[in-house]
Amino acid sequence: MQIIKDKQRVDNTWQFIADEESLVAGDITVSLARWLQDKATLIAHSGKVGLRLKASDTVADFAEDLGHIKLVELNFADFADGRSFSQAWLLRGRYHYQDEIRAIGHYLPEQVFYLSRVGVNAYASDKTSALDSVLNNLNDFTVKYQPSII
């Protein structure tokens, strides 16, 4: 599957590990609950580890672990749940997280300009056609009124 990352189409190299599943080699994503529970094992994992965040998760709960985390996925169950926007802002603005923040799930390609401004730099979608819209809509505005992450 392809995603958009830093305005380029690239292959997704991360593997989804469900909470009850055992770890596999390579780069993996786990839920926040799994991370908090198995932190030591996950830090020792040979590949990179990413976190899957729900809108209801609290960024402060894992902020001090961010050095070990190479991807944060913001999982949209509902595109109108704006908490994910503040999560991204907190990761970048408060905790100075430098690695990938990816929007996934039911966000709208129509929202990517705002998402990019709060620090999201990657976008996944089930529909390949949506990725064209993402690329296009990242350029919706050339001006802005207020500071944010960018």
Partner: protein
Amino acid sequence: MYQYTENDQTLIDERVAQFKRQTENYFKGELSEDEYRALRLRNGVYIQTHAPLLRVAGPYGLISSKQIRKLAHIARTYDKNYCHFTTRQNIQFNWPKLELVPEILAELATVQMHAIQTSGNCMRNTTSDHLAGVAVDEIDDPRPYCEIIRQWTTLHPEFDYLPRKFKIAVSGALNDRAATQFHDIGLHLVKDGTGEVGFKVFVGGGLGRTPIIGQVIKPFLEQKHLLSYLEAILRIYNLFGRRDNKYKARIKILVKETGLDKFTEMVDAEWAHLRDANELSAERVNEIKAHFASPAYDVKADSDHTFAEHKANDKAFATWLAHNTAAHKVSGYAAVFISLKAPDMPPGDITDVQLDAVADIADAYSFGEVRATHRQNLLLADVKQADLYTVWQKLVDLGLATPNIGTATDMICCPGLDFCSLANAGSIGIAKEINEALDDLDYIHDIGELKINMSGCMNGCAHQSVGHIGILGVDKKGAEWYQITLGGSSENNAAIGERLGPAVAKDEITSAITTILDVYIKNRLEEETFLEAVNRLGINPFKEQVYANN
């Protein structure tokens, strides 16, 4: 007033292009009903009973004559020759075609207007005092701060998908004319001991189903911290506001359920991270202030004598002056209300022909500027006393001089059953009926200051809970009934009205209102307003008569 820079213009042009694409994608089936709904709301488009409703932003109520002419043109070309001014200083069109809305927005953009964030769960149009900059009781002009907030809120990337809508109002005067205590955030300009202007910040006020009076969260906020403090409140609200129940999603519920002390702690903890990073510089404030410099007033305006003669000789003119003008900070000038409450028009409505004529009057007599008021009227802020007689005559010819500002027939009224799919009961029809029952101007003037607010359902678009008399449409087994409240106020002494008793039937509501007014006339003390009388007497004397008669 504020003039767009190239950046401002680019931003609204790009927004029009974005919404055009979204609308096309919706018609192609690429956006679902739900998805498009969220996007169109953020561009001012509701779908109501008959047609879409387009709500255009009137930034803190200021509208130029050029913009007024554009509104007239839109009313003529895309609507049924009229538009509606709302309680939040916005403009609504009731009959545009959805597929033409992008085109209408493109037309508006040519005169520096837009409909961005006028509905939807986002930060809305910032509202203010219609007498800003000319009021005699002003501490400082709120308009520059409104513009700073307008820019900060517009297309804010982090706070566009809030739990619920979010409204900010700013007052710079001793008397609050912007209902600030019924806003999610209310700001009062105040001075500290050294004469420095800052803000008293209220949070968690609101109307609708659960009316709540805002509480003071910060007695004095320094000017330079304005935006960082707003950001802190908005981030806490965005993260912790309830999203499980839309009736409990406003910030007022978060503040209530969290408790003001705890809520304040959360905001302060967030603010501590932000306050030094994003200071509002004095240069920036001054740059915006320059847009609101006083117009070139005639320093000899008060030497005119014709005004006093007309006033002495023409009783109708004198009556209009007494009710439809407000004092101005510059001697020899007055602020003139344009009443949109003629007995034969739905409250707040105005035709294309009237709009064009108002634009001409504004150009000739008030520096080309018109303002929308919180009570659905218009205002010419800067009329020379020598011109008042001419302006009055022109307004009389247009049907815009009903001398009823602040009186019983200056009702706030929502669209009700006539346009709104959520309505339980009609409101425009009842307003008309009450108008007919009170067709004696002397009687209305004798009653004096009175705010009657009427909404067709619990959502309370017409602020009935803060009306001195509030009327709320309720549904009883499919019939239209009306719940009456007394004693509400959105001014300094903010209060939520008390229920008079059981709802009354449609054919009895008008007589119930006239009965209430009779009780007031019989019982009032000298110089006592209706609201003061209700506060002194309590509701019982009114209740007894209303339910005895009906």
